[in-house]
């Protein structure tokens, strides 16, 4: 159990998928203008990443058993696309406001590298099922933390700071991300991901 918690903590802090692996940058930059939307996007990613990892694990076991592991990329992508499709239907029906706020980025979760990366990482690191769940959930929470942190800073800066015109918007967002990333390096050695 302690091992699982360690993986969980590690994937949020010192192995944060957004700030140390620099993955999932596209929605991270685009949806981080307000904290509200960032939370929504983060929750959607948590949902998709965790569910797809949980579905992909037994599928990968099947691939291993049949000796067709070369198909993993293809099969993972199909599962991810289907999960996103399902999420889209769900949001469209029950939370249309959020569906509209996401706009084009909801279908784009399909190509958010975080989702595929988590599935590929559990293969590389030869995790057990429990470890996979802990890792995928942790990574997604890590991404959620990153986008909400970034959005919080951006929202405040938009109101209070006098950002030079050339840097305003996405430019300053990249610099904030870099500083955040540096800050997260401070967690190095805190917990082991293996």
């Amino acid at each position: 159990m302690g091992h699982l918690i360690e993986i969980f903590i590690s994937s949020i802090l010192n192995n944060n998928i957004a700030l140390t692996f620099i993955l999932g940058m596209c929605p991270l930059i685009a949806i981080s203008t307000t904290v509200k939307n960032a939370k929504g996007m983060g929750l959607a990613v948590i949902f998709v990443v965790t569910i797809t990892a949980i579905i992909n694990y037994p599928i990968y076991s099947l691939l291993k058993a049949t000796g067709t592991t070369q198909l993993n990329l293809l099969v993972f992508i199909i599962t991810i696309a289907a999960t996103v499709q399902f999420l889209e239907m769900f949001l469209e029906k029950f939370i249309p406001k959020m569906y509209n706020a996401f706009g084009i980025f909801l279908p784009l979760i399909t190509v958010n590298c975080v989702v595929l990366a988590v599935s590929l990482f559990f293969v590389n690191r030869e995790y057990t099922f429990a470890e996979t769940v802990s890792f995928s959930f942790g990574s997604a929470v890590g991404w959620f933390v990153a986008i909400v942190l970034l959005a919080g800073i951006r929202e405040k800066m938009a109101k209070k700071s006098d950002v030079p015109k050339g840097l305003a918007g996405k430019g300053i967002a990249f610099i904030i991300l870099g500083i955040l990333s540096l800050a997260f390096i401070g967690f190095t050695g805190l917990a082991s991901i293996q």
Binding site: L71, T79, F86, M89, E92, G103, I104
Partner: protein
């Protein structure tokens, strides 16, 4: 090769497709909604399709050139209630005023709840027609007359001055052209189409279209048409292929014995740009009420031209008196119309008696 490879690929695809279909059945459709068009027509809708598709199923054809991909920006409708917020895909096509009025791209609005829209009345009468080209005539070196026989449905009721849309097969380009024929003749329509260099639709019409070809036309559209109840004097000004709607209007008036005094100015560069001159001169001979004034801005020496010379605006300025009790009908390029409006205003034409159709 491992036999499991195809089995797994196909298996995963089939299972996921089935699951998605199941999910769609369970949470996809959300009961019956009501689509209200122009306050009076209520259409029950059961699926979650886009507004554009829902309306076309109800035989209401909103102009659209891209087929629902949010790239042409033609399918604008005014959404009075419902429809959600403007989507990022629509942003580039809407200006501030349209946003305030609730204008949306109908291909991007899904009918998920009750929704109320306002569309121009004439769109309700617009239909999609299958037609056959029965005549192609060269009017000038760059202007062609295209005569279409309506096949399915076989008649179109239109007001003189309105336009229809021609669909270019294969590349899904849609262009609007004024109807040049007599509104009495409901089973045929005619377009006067000028070749635009590099224009997709005009190149198709001029280079590829032949007698016997089938084309799809939708219409009629447009709020530029003859005010049939009025009996004010008329001044018509056209340039280039702008003769088309005026010709339709004049056909209509001729059939009624030219009850109104009409002055028709046509501006062209040189004699080779003039067409239908005899037709209109004969009309002028027949009815003293009608006057045809072609004007050339740049007559060539070989033209042997003894008519009016100068820019159409100058000619109109010179030959018209007070217009406070007249109606004006203008057709041509936006530049020509703007210039004419200035001149007409100078002659006291009230704004609400000025009708125009900008070709762009």
């Amino acid at each position: 090769m491992n036999v499991y490879v195809p089995i797994i690929i196909v298996g995963v695809l089939v299972v996921i497709t089935l699951l998605l279909i199941l999910a769609d059945k369970l949470i996809g459709s959300s009961g019956e909604k009501v689509l209200t068009v122009n306050k009076d027509t209520k259409i029950p809708v059961t699926d979650d399709d886009t507004l554009l598709n829902t309306l076309s199923k109800e035989k209401i054809f909103i102009p659209s050139a891209c087929g629902g991909k949010a790239t042409c920006g033609l399918c604008k409708v005014k959404v009075v209630e419902g429809g959600g917020e403007v989507k990022p895909t629509e942003e580039p096509f809407l200006n501030d005023r349209e946003r305030q009025e609730g204008v949306r791209l109908s291909c991007q609005v899904k009918v998920r709840d009750n929704i109320e829209i306002d569309i121009p009345k004439e769109l309700l009468f617009a239909k999609e027609y299958k037609t056959e080209v029965v005549e192609m005539k060269e009017l000038t070196y760059d202007i062609n007359l295209v005569r279409l026989k309506l096949i399915e449905p076989d008649t179109m009721e239109f007001k003189p001055g309105q336009y229809a849309q021609l669909k270019v097969p294969g590349i899904e380009v849609i262009r609007a052209y004024s109807i040049a024929s007599n509104p009495k003749e409901t089973d045929h329509i005619e377009f006067i189409i000028r070749m635009v260099p590099k224009g997709k639709a005009t190149t198709y019409v001029h280079k590829a279209l032949e007698v016997g070809d089938n084309v799809i036309v939708t219409g009629p559209y447009g709020d530029f048409y003859l005010q049939e109840d009025s009996n004010k004097d008329m001044i018509c000004i056209a340039g280039g292929s702008g003769k088309a709607p005026i010709r339709s209007i004049l056909h209509y008036l001729r059939d009624r014995g030219m009850p109104r005094k009409v002055k028709y100015f046509f501006g062209a560069r040189s004699k080779k740009d003039l067409y239908y001159t005899e037709e209109f001169e004969e009309l002028a001979k027949e009815f003293p009420n009608f006057e045809y004034i072609p004007a050339l801005s740049d007559p060539q020496p070989e033209d042997d031209w003894d008519g009016e010379v100068g820019l159409i605006t100058d000619v109109v300025d010179r030959l018209t008196g007070d217009l406070s009790d007249s109606e004006a009908y203008l057709c041509g390029s936006p530049g020509m119309i703007d210039a004419c409006n200035v001149v007409l205003e100078k002659h006291n034409l009230p704004e609400q008696q000025c009708f125009y159709d900008k070709f762009s």
